[in-house]
């Protein structure tokens, strides 16, 4: 019944003028994503719509589910079937997904969740920008864990970070969230999709033992704290569960097993922070007044730095590309030199709080330049608030 589509590659090398939502979808395909399970929600629906069209062209599979619980659960299932898999949603949908994101952490399931943030809480502003889910991406599911979240600030970066997100997910066996926002998702910009040879694709480690020959230990971690991953159909007898488990994958309900696994789940991320944490510095060498921002807000912050420099104010910008794990060390160093740090974000101070924690007992004071969703800062607004504190 399905019509034959001509061979269309998964990496559409070339130059485009397109939106962040389409770029993140193309980036996922370029990273090797073959499965998307999703549910429509504004402002992320275009990601699903694009994947519905593209995945059949590249031998992948798109399923629209009955809700977000099913969507993310299917993504975990597809990952255990060996497919690189992802979903896309926005705040209310992400709220429904967090239980299964926790399951993904516990079962160490590589997958990617795109959250095109809108104003919240609750239904909030379905069609307008917000950055209010950054702490939810960190702590949304119950229990202690470490997670990876990345925040693009351009259409190009939606593509680039989608590849990074899949690579981190595969390398560290963890769900990775791409924290976009409505403005980034819907705005159009130049996108350059590189040649296939320039796209780096990482794949999960395979077990070294042969299937069926000995007792397979699916959660026996290597020295890097990451266990190799067998997938369904390869012949390994694998048990995976959300219950606290040992190296065999068997449930072990006691404090020592709990300590062992939670420590390892956290440390496999924390001990690799240098590999995961990315940020961009702009005019920071001599900066006395440092703006810290991410996502769409960072573009207004960059404009504010330029305005400030024109007035002779020594301003600079630290743009967080990786939100979680948090760039504690870089911010601590910054706080030793700078006079004041301003955090520019579209929420009520969620990253400001993190910066205050990282910069505690250092020289710089930390203030938030905050909006609560629905619109982005202008550079002039940011400069005005800076000048009030200078």
């Amino acid at each position: 019944m399905s019509k034959k589509t001509e061979e269309i590659p998964d990496i559409l090398t070339g130059e485009y003028f397109t939106t962040g939502n389409l770029a993140v979808a193309e980036g996922s395909l370029a990273a090797g994503c073959k499965y998307f399970g999703g549910y429509p929600i504004t402002p992320s629906s275009e990601v699903a719509e694009h994947m519905a069209e593209r995945l059949p062209q590249v031998g992948g599979h798109f399923v629209q589910f009955e809700d977000e619980l099913a969507s993310i659960a299917s993504v975990l299932g597809a990952s255990w079937g060996g497919w690189k898999s992802c979903t896309a949603t926005s705040g209310p949908g992400y709220s429904l997904m967090v239980e299964n994101i926790g399951l993904g952490v516990m079962m160490e399931t590589p997958c990617v969740i795109v959250n095109v943030q809108r104003g919240g809480p609750s239904t909030g502003l379905p069609t307008l920008v917000g950055q209010q889910d950054v702490q939810q991406a960190r702590w949304g599911s119950h229990g202690d864990y470490e997670i990876i979240a990345l925040s693009p600030n351009s259409v190009q970066e939606c593509f680039d970070l989608a590849i990074d997100a899949f690579n981190y997910a595969e390398k560290y066996r963890v769900p990775v969230t791409i924290l976009m926002d409505e403005t980034i998702g819907h705005m159009s910009e130049r996108l350059v999709i590189p040649k296939r040879s320039q796209v780096k694709r990482l794949n999960r480690k395979k077990p070294s033992d042969k299937p069926g020959q000995q007792i397979h230990l699916p959660y026996e971690a290597d020295k890097d704290l990451i266990p190799p991953m067998a997938v369904a159909g390869e012949g390994y007898r694998t048990i995976t569960t959300g219950l606290t488990h040992d190296a065999r994958g068997y449930p072990v309900i006691n404090a020592s097993a709990q300590k062992k696994i939670v420590k390892r789940l956290c440390n496999k991320i924390l001990l690799n922070k240098n590999d995961i944490i990315k940020f961009e510095e702009y005019l920071l060498e001599d900066a006395e007044y440092v703006l810290i921002s991410f996502g769409i807000s960072s573009r207004a912050a960059k404009g504010a730095v330029n305005l400030a420099r024109n007035k002779g104010i020594k301003a600079g910008l630290l743009r967080l590309i990786t939100i979680w794990p948090f760039a504690d060390e870089a911010i601590q160093e910054m706080a030793k030199k700078a006079k004041v740090i301003f955090v520019v974000e579209i929420n009520n101070g969620q990253i400001t709080r993190e910066v205050q924690r990282a910069a505690a007992k250092q020289k710089a004071d930390v203030y938030g330049i905050l909006k609560l969703g629905g619109s982005i800062h202008t550079p002039a607004e940011i400069l005005k608030e800076m000048e009030e504190k200078i």
């Binding site: 019944m1 019509k3 589509t5 549910y39 929600i41 629906s45 275009e46 519905a52």
Partner: protein, 304 residues
């Protein structure tokens, strides 16, 4: 079976004032207007995320004259259950009707768990699914109620590969006192069914499934909104019936269609809609078979 209603029987009072933000020719809006006329001012409405959210106002004003709880996508029946419980506490459960009204996504997909629970507990409410056969408010993505072959933004190549869920039968398996299907193009019949559901207060959850054509989502001219709904009924694609305490009866407009020769050709319904533009002859035959199967099932249950 409901009594036949004449236009003069419909209350003059409008519960939805002019100036909603819905699309021109929105059939769900027309249905909602007659539903609230049937249920009257002593009604509390629960709505999940849907086009109905939009009708309740987006920019600081609401055209709807009854109290509304605008709830999350997956929970409209559960939220309505809470209202029902609290009305008992106030001693007002006998006089106030609780209406949960959801789109097809909020009913047959994400909302089905809460709906099933409320039905199983025989919660005293009317649940209405206004079925525009896709997620129209988020940009026309397929739902479990989208018909076979329809193009949506998430079924862009071959159209939907599956038939729509038979929600009335799913609800019947819950042992409900009253189940009806209706269509926005027949507002008098629709009105009568909601009056009947209101009269059956105290008999648990009453379920009414209303087919409501969506001009932008289905792809037809605004002026055809009523005609398309009528064709859905006249071709037999959308049979209208009631199941009252287990007994199925066909509604007036559908009764004669038990005879296949009385049905209009399905093509007349499919052709004006752009969502069916890619149908292959095999897909059309599949839809013909679907209609025939639907009616064969009905014929075994009703007295002809």
């Amino acid at each position: 079976m409901v009594k036949s209603v004449k236009i003069m029987d419909i209350p003059e009072e409008e519960m939805i004032l002019p100036g909603t933000r819905l699309c021109p020719s929105c059939a769900p809006q027309l249905a909602y207007r007659f539903i609230l006329k049937a249920l009257g001012p002593k009604t509390i409405v629960a709505v999940p995320a849907s086009c109905m959210t939009v009708v309740h106002g987006m920019q600081g004003a609401t055209p709807v004259k009854v109290p509304v709880l605008n709830t999350t996508f997956e929970t409209v029946a559960a939220s309505a259950s809470g209202i029902v419980a609290s009305l008992k506490n106030l001693g007002k459960d006998k006089e106030v009707t609780v209406l949960a009204i959801a789109g097809d996504g909020g009913t047959v997909d994400i909302g089905i768990q809460g709906l099933s629970g409320a039905a199983e507990r025989h919660t005293d409410m009317i649940f209405c699914c206004y079925d525009n056969e896709a997620y129209m408010n988020t940009g026309i993505q397929r739902s479990g109620s989208t018909p076979f072959g329809a193009i949506t933004t998430t079924t862009p190549i071959d159209g939907k590969l599956e038939h729509k869920k038979n929600m009335a039968m799913i609800m019947e398996a819950h042992g409900l006192s009253y189940i009806a299907t209706a269509c926005a193009s027949y507002p008098l019949d629709l009105y009568a069914k909601f009056v009947k559901a209101k009269e059956m207060k105290g008999e648990g959850l009453r379920y009414i499934h209303v087919l409501a054509p969506c001009p932008p989502g289905w792809g037809f001219d605004n002026k055809l909104a009523i005609e398309i709904g009528r064709l859905a009924v006249k071709t037999g694609f959308w049979p209208m019936f009631e199941i009252i305490r287990g007994k199925m009866e066909l509604s007036k407009e559908s009764r004669r269609l038990i005879d296949p020769t009385k049905r209009k050709p399905l093509e007349e319904y499919l052709q004006p809609q752009r969502r069916f533009r890619k149908l292959s002859p095999e897909q059309k035959q599949e839809l013909e078979n679907y209609v025939a199967d639907t009616w064969n099932t009905i014929a075994k249950r009703v007295d002809v």
